[in-house]
Point group: C2
Chain length 290, copies 2
Amino acid sequence: MSVFPVILSQEKFIHRDSLKFPLEERALQFGDGIYEVIRIYNGTYYLFDEHIDRLFRSTEAIKIKLSHSKEEIKNLLLELLERNNMAENGKVYMQISRGSAPRDHVFPTNVEPNIYAYVQAVPRNLVTLKNGVGVITHRDIRWENCYIKSLNLLPNVMAKQEAKEQGCYEAILHKDGVVTECSSSNVYLVKDGKIYTHPTTRNILHGCVRMAIERFVTDLNIPLIEEPFMLDDIANADELFLSSSTSEITPIITVDGSPVKDGMPGEITRKLQAAYEKDANIIENLIANA
Amino acid sequence: MSVFPVILSQEKFIHRDSLKFPLEERALQFGDGIYEVIRIYNGTYYLFDEHIDRLFRSTEAIKIKLSHSKEEIKNLLLELLERNNMAENGKVYMQISRGSAPRDHVFPTNVEPNIYAYVQAVPRNLVTLKNGVGVITHRDIRWENCYIKSLNLLPNVMAKQEAKEQGCYEAILHKDGVVTECSSSNVYLVKDGKIYTHPTTRNILHGCVRMAIERFVTDLNIPLIEEPFMLDDIANADELFLSSSTSEITPIITVDGSPVKDGMPGEITRKLQAAYEKDANIIENLIANA
């Protein structure tokens, strides 16, 4: 657990127990902010530039004006790693809100964004990476701008909880049968050697691990088709998998209790997992050596 | 400004400057909570039961388990008024989140909800109540469960800001031309002596002032038709108005720069404003005496 969260708006590092949020913080009252979760392997940020670029796309989309450059944010996050002696596997959570001001929907003026980040040790989930996970399906009732990694996560929370209560790992979200993504990950279907996934419209998050997968498939010569698939397509899928910074590339082996194909992680999923471990310079690369 | 916010989960009153939110508060990271704003006239809560009932409907909808009864919450809010010597016009903001726990979409277990509230003096906005306001129209891109008064308010914030930047007071939201509500108020159209407004489906908030209006129209013998109207209907409307706890019943006199009818507050709107002042026991009832 992080000893020193960084409060970037105050340009200083303080102990997490000393962090104090004001009563009228716009993240607290409106969810008026954005965030990133970046994976750390052996003390190094993975897909660092992808996350920082998306962080800035998100702040721009909701018109938060940052006074820090990308380089400055990166340097502070690197200093955060050092101050916490983070040399293992983990992740950083970073949040930027519009700031603190008397409650009013309208943007406050002359207010600096509130920025904070903290790191924590998180081991890779080798059991789910190896064995795969079960998921449920759930209607996608979220707002239209899910490409923004915003703090408005209540529908995601409710869907993930529903999955948990049904003994599952994730919820595949769909709009009238069209699969968009999962509650906190992207989702992919494999059929006849091709990978299908929803195009990066406003309705889904363009995942950083998805960006990495877009590179991997070129090297592996696997077609990645950015077309949405339907719930009905799952019954005839060869493989299904999901991706996120926390879940990496995780096989999906059951959907609403029914097995995907033979209920075992598929060949293309395994190839992508191996490519991921290589790309992330993961030392204990259990998938690649499996 | 409130001297003593109340932290109900800790059953105590503390000074607002001493309030400390933990790093991993679910309102802060997920918007995982709900809120109410209750109007205070001359030191008395208006539509108190309506707000408390809705507060409990909202917590139930997102499965937050409160250990307080409605009576207990009401008594604490009444004590809050006393401790702040609030005898004037104002409002209370009350927020309930699922609690504080290491960040995970799934509900934490064995965690108490975080509850806080604070009062502040807010004069009635007599200028807008008398003269009316201009509004813009804006696509309703929010999630499907807007009947829950949740902390996921980013789309509302963005729409209200857009209105502000265009010199307007509010944004009328619509789905494919069907008017739902405004960014932080309900909206009504008057035509041939009848009031039209969106039915209280999952897509809009059932406003407490709307509940009061539902009572007023019975006494006034004005038909209130709970059918959605279209953006296209506005050009031929006799009157347009909005309602919320902060805005009371406010005439809308322009929409996207075009006047509603003759650009003056209408007769039925005025009757409802007078009924409001009577119902709320407002002493300086400027509308009723206008």
